[in-house]
Symmetry: C2
Subunit: 184 residues, 2 copies
């Protein structure tokens, strides 16, 4: 792969992330290419289909999540680690409009690459959750799938309250308190 090709591919990804984050996933691909200062042809050579662009972005996002989860996994306080991760989802939601939409849709077509990354994320989450459950800071009657879904909810909520950080945090607090709660 030639150097300029690699450079352009990176640039396209970067601009696409930016566009989707601030305006949602309905931004036309040609528009993304234009803003990147590149031709539509270049876009479609690197990402033959819009879906493939989504895939690349989702992959990088999930990779980030995995990193974050792994680095938190070593924190001394398991509860702090887990709820810190939740807070991270709010931060993400505040500046990533549309990501949840992509993620939700991505789960459906179950692309192999994405499934693999999701698997990694689940492993990392598992560790976070189990430690937090072990220390009694997260209720024991829920599983990874539930947590992932709830994290998604936190993200979506934050997306929707774009601009009202206060409310996004209150919503996260409620959900986290629910995760802490001891079931009767």
């Amino acid at each position: 792969m030639r150097a300029d090709a690699r450079r352009n591919r990176e640039r396209l990804l970067e601009v696409a992330r930016e566009c989707f984050a601030t305006e949602g996933v309905s931004v036309p691909v040609d528009e993304i290419a234009r803003r990147a200062g590149l031709g539509a042809g270049t876009m479609h050579r690197h990402f033959p289909t819009k879906e493939s662009l989504f895939e690349a972005i989702v992959l990088s996002h999930i990779a980030q999540l995995v990193d974050e989860a792994r680095s938190l996994a070593e924190a001394e306080d398991p509860g702090e680690a887990f709820f810190g991760f939740c807070l991270g989802m709010v931060e993400r939601g505040m500046k990533n409009r549309g990501l949840a939409e992509i993620l939700a849709g991505a789960g459906i077509d179950a692309k192999a690459r994405i499934a693999a990354e999701t698997e990694q994320l689940d492993r990392a989450l598992e560790r976070l959750v189990e430690r937090a459950q072990g220390s009694g800071q997260v209720r024991a009657d829920i599983g990874i799938a539930d947590v992932r879904a709830l994290l998604n909810s936190i993200h979506t909520a934050a997306e929707r309250e774009q601009g009202d950080r206060r409310m996004a945090l209150r919503m996260m607090t409620v959900i986290c308190d629910g995760l802490r709660a001891n079931p009767r």
Copy 2:
């Protein structure tokens, strides 16, 4: 308004609700007309724009919610009333794919009619929430806006877990427990 016109308008609304509920909001309007056994022209005379169709559907949905909230407002146990409403949101989510999407979008353009209905819903919710807070069954440090947003989350979560009623209920439980929690 002629009798057949009224009939057809009703039918279009009914089919549209059904389509959006089961397949999401991207179903083409012409397709809805076709399934209703009517021409595209009829569709566009009654609902000049797709948005106006959304509006009509959202209005009827909100009206339903208001009804439900009002009828629950008279229940003897304030907590049961409020959490019963939450459960209703799950039921709705299980069979209304896309509604949350419309509702979220609807908030943005703030059409006058919708704003008026939303106001009604807020009043009804206010009563439910305040009674539940008064009886100590819902935490006191959140407002109507938070509750509305969280109800939306419950709805969305249920939408996403279409088919897995068990998980949808678990997620609702977590959020509801969060709403019950006493803040430190």
